[in-house]
C-alpha cells in the first residue's frame, strides 16, 4: 500500500503483473496503463443455511470478470438487473470483499479485506450511487456533505480552506451560485442537483477513478444528458478513469469509449463502444440491442413491436446458475459445448472480444449447428 501514498509516479504505473494481452492492445490504441484493474474477479455471497454438513451454497454474483480502467477513458458496463454489474462496482469500491481473483490499483495488489487501507484506497477510488434521493443524508447541508471527505482525506485543514474548496467543487459540477447551494438541504434540491452534489462529494476526495453506478437512471430524461455530460467533461479535463454502469446500451454508445456487456455475472462481450453496439457478436448483446427502444426503427420500416426477439425468457437464478455459458438456456445457437464450459475469450480484432463458441476456433462447428 505504500505506493498509494506517493501519487502520480509514472513509473509506478508500469508495475509488473499487468496482463500481457491488455497491455499490448493498450499500446496499440495509444492508451495509458490501467489505473484500476480487475483480474478474474469472482464474488460469491454465501447463503445462510442451518445444515452445516451440506456444502455451503451461495449466490454466484460475479464470475471471472476482468476489466481495466484507464485515465481519461470511460468504460461502460452494460447489463440487465441481476447481471452483477453493480456488484462489480462495489467490489471495485471495496464495499464487498471479492471471493477470488485480484484487484490492482496502479499495478499494486489490493487486499480483499474491506477494512485494511480502505481510507487510502478511497482517496483514489470513489463511487457514485444510483439514487441521489437516498445517497445524501437528509439532515445535513450540502456543505457538510462536501466538507467531510475534504477533512477525512486531509485536503483541507482549516474551515476557510474547506469553504474555499467546497465553493470550487460546486462550481465544477455547475451548481452556481455556490454560496446559495452550500447551505441547502437535500430536500431543497431537485434530483439532478442532488446527483451533482453526490458527484461533487466524490470529487472532493480528488480521486483518480470514479465508479458511477447508474448515475442517471433515477433522473428525468431532460436532465440526464446534463449530468452525463458533466461526468464526461470531468473525465476529459481531469483525466479521471470512469466506470459507467448502465442498463441503457444506447447511452453506453454515446458516453463510453469502451463497452462491456455482462450477463448473469459473466462478461460476454466487450470492446470499443461503436463496435459492440453496431456489430454485436454475442447472441446476448444482439438480444439486448434488439430489445432496446429505438425510434429509428420506425423510419427505416423495420419497426414492428411484435417482431420476435432472438431469445425469450429471463436471466437465471445465480444460486444455481446454468453450467458453462450461463446464456445457453436462452441462446438460439446453443451447442453441446456451451453447456459444459464457459467459452474462452475470442479476440475479434480492433480490441473487440467476446466469450462465445460461435466465434474463434470451433467456429466451423458452431456455424454448422446454428444453421
Amino acid at each position: 500500500m505504500s505506493m498509494l501514498e506517493r501519487s502520480t509516479d509514472v513509473d509506478a504505473r508500469h508495475a509488473p503483473g499487468v496482463n500481457g494481452k491488455t497491455a499490448q492492445s493498450a499500446v496499440q490504441a495509444g492508451w495509458d496503463e490501467p489505473v484500476l484493474e480487475a483480474v478474474n474477479l469472482r464474488k460469491v455471497f454465501p447463503l445462510r443455511q442451518l445444515a452445516f454438513w451440506r456444502t455451503q451454497r451461495g449466490v454466484k454474483a460475479v464470475e471471472d470478470v476482468s476489466l481495466a480502467l484507464r485515465p481519461g477513458r470511460c468504460t461502460a458496463l452494460v447489463g440487465e438487473s441481476g447481471s452483477g454489474k453493480t456488484t462489480v462496482a462495489r467490489l471495485l469500491a471495496r464495499l464487498y470483499g471479492y471471493t477470488s481473483g485480484e484487484i490492482r490499483f496502479r499495478g499494486q495488489h489490493i487486499s480483499r479485506s474491506t477494512t485494511v487501507g480502505l481510507r487510502k484506497y478511497r482517496r483514489y477510488v470513489q463511487l457514485i450511487f444510483q439514487d441521489p434521493f437516498s445517497s445524501l443524508n437528509p439532515v445535513h447541508t450540502v456543505k457538510y456533505h462536501l466538507r467531510r471527505p475534504l477533512r477525512i482525506h486531509g485536503h483541507a485543514r482549516t474551515a476557510a480552506e474547506a469553504d474555499q474548496q467546497i465553493r470550487h467543487l460546486l462550481e465544477r459540477v455547475n451548481l452556481t451560485p455556490a454560496e446559495q447551494f452550500m447551505e441547502k438541504f437535500p430536500h431543497q434540491l431537485s434530483g439532478g442537483q442532488r446527483q451533482r452534489v453526490a458527484i461533487a462529494r466524490a470529487l472532493a476526495a480528488q480521486p483518480e477513478v470514479l465508479l458511477a453506478d447508474e448515475p442517471v437512471s433515477m433522473l428525468d430524461v431532460s436532465i440526464r444528458l446534463d449530468v452525463l455530460n458533466l461526468l464526461l467533461s470531468l473525465k476529459e479535463k481531469e483525466r479521471l478513469a470512469l466506470l459507467y454502469i448502465t442498463h441503457d446500451i444506447a447511452s453506453a454508445r454515446y458516453f463510453a469509449d469502451e463497452t462491456m456487456v455482462m450477463y448473469a455475472g459473466q462478461m460476454v462481450e466487450g470492446g470499443p463502444s461503436e463496435a459492440v453496439t453496431q456489430s454485436p457478436r454475442h447472441p446476448y448483446t444482439q438480444l439486448l440491442l434488439q430489445a432496446a427502444p429505438d425510434p429509428d426503427r420506425m423510419l427505416t420500416g423495420q419497426m414492428d413491436a411484435e417482431s420476435s426477439l432472438v431469445a425469450r425468457g429471463e436471466p437465471p437464478s445465480l444460486i444455481n446458475p446454468p453450467s458453462g455459458c450461463r446464456f445457453h438456456p436462452r441462446c438460439p445457437y446453443a451447442m453441446a459445448v456451451c453447456r459444459t464450459a464457459f467459452p474462452p475469450r475470442t479476440d475479434l480484432g480492433g480490441g473487440h472480444w467476446t466469450h462465445c463458441y460461435l466465434y474463434g476456433e470451433p467456429a466451423a462447428v458452431a456455424t454448422q449447428s446454428a444453421t
Binding site: E80, S81, S190, G191, G192, Q193, D220, V221, S222, I223, R224, L225, D226, N229, H247, I249, A250, S251, R253, Y254, F255, T277, Q278, L287, L288, L289, Q290, A291, A292, P293, D294, P295, D296, R297, M298, L299, T300, G301, M303, A305, E306, S307, S308, L309, A311, R312, E314
Partner: protein, 372 residues
Amino acid sequence: MAMENVLEVKHVSVDYGSASGAVHAVDDVSFNLKRGQILGLAGESGSGKSTLAYAVARLLRPPAVVTQGQMLYYPRPGLEDKNEDDSLSPIDLLELTPAELRNFRWRKLSIVFQSAMNALNPVLSIETQIVDVLQAHNPSMPRKAQKARAAELVRMVGIAPDRLHAYPHELSGGMRQRAVIAIALALNPEIIIMDEPTTALDVVVQREILAEIMGLRKDFGFSVIFITHDLSLLLEIADQVAIMYAGRIVETATREQLYRHPRHPYTYGLLHSFPSLHGARRSMLGIPGSPPDLRAVPPGCAFNPRCSFAFGACQTAVPALLTPSSEAPEQRVACHLYDASLNPDGVPSKLRAAEPAQPDDSPLALRKGEVQ
C-alpha cells in the same frame, strides 16, 4: 376498424389543494382517444400525466379535485351486454354516480398500474385475484366459468397455465406485470390505461410485454392510454403521442410527425436528449434547467425559462394548442413561435427542419432507408 372516438377529454383541469393554495397539476387539457388506438402520454415527473390518467378513471381522491371539464365516453355500438341503458349518447364520466362508476370501471375501462409488485395482493394466488375481479363485476357467472376464464386470460398474456396457482412472490417481475395485464383484460374493456407498465422492467422483458400488448390489442381492439416518460419507447408503439409539460399538453401529433418534425421546442429538446442506437451519432442537446415546481409555474408558457427561442410574448400569454401548418392537420402545438401575429420573424430554422435527427456530419443511412 372505424376511427371514431371512444373518449373525448375536454378542457379538464385537476388541482391539488395544499396549504399554500391550489396546485394546478393538470391545466385545461383536451384530447381524443380513438377506438383501437394507442395514445401515448409522455412527460417528465410532475408533468401531470399520471394525474390526468387517474382523472379519466375517476380515481382521484382529495386533495385532488377535477375543477373543470368534461370526459365523454362513447359506448361501442352493438355491444352485447345490455345491462344498462344502451343508448349511444356519450356518457360524461364526471357525472357518473358511484353505482354507475362501479359498472363503468373495469368493464369499460381498466388500469395497469406501474408497479406490479404493489398492484397484486401478495397473499392471494393469481387465479384468486382474477376470479375476484370476475366475481365482483359478474356475480352471476358460475364459479367454474370464472376459473376457466382465469385460465384463458393467463394463457392469453403468455403465462404458463401451471403458474395459475402461484403467488406473486413466486413470479418474476415480467410475469407479475403480465398477470396485472391479464386482470385488466378480464372483462374485455374498451379502454386500458397503462401507467408506466414497463418502467420497472429490464429491456428484454419490456420488449416482450410490449409485443404482448400490441398482439392483444390486435386481437381485442381495445384502446390504450399509455403513460411513460420514455419517449423513445412511445415512438415505437403509440399511434398518437401527446407531450405534457407542467400540466399542459404542449404538442400532440402522430408518432411519425412528432419524430420527423417536432414543432415545440420542448419536444425538440426531448428528442435530442436520448441517444440513438443506430445510424450516425447525432448531436445531443438536452434541455437546460429542470422542470418547474408546480407550486410556482412560470407565467406565460411554462417552458419559457428553459426555451432557447423564448421571446416577449412567452412570458405573458399562455399559448393555446393550435395547428401550426395546413400540411399536418393532426399535429397541434402550443407555442407562440407559430403565431404569426406574435412572432413575425417566423419559425426558427432549427424547428423548421424536416428532420429531427440532424446528423453530426455525413449524410446517414437512416435518411436513405426512409420512405417518402
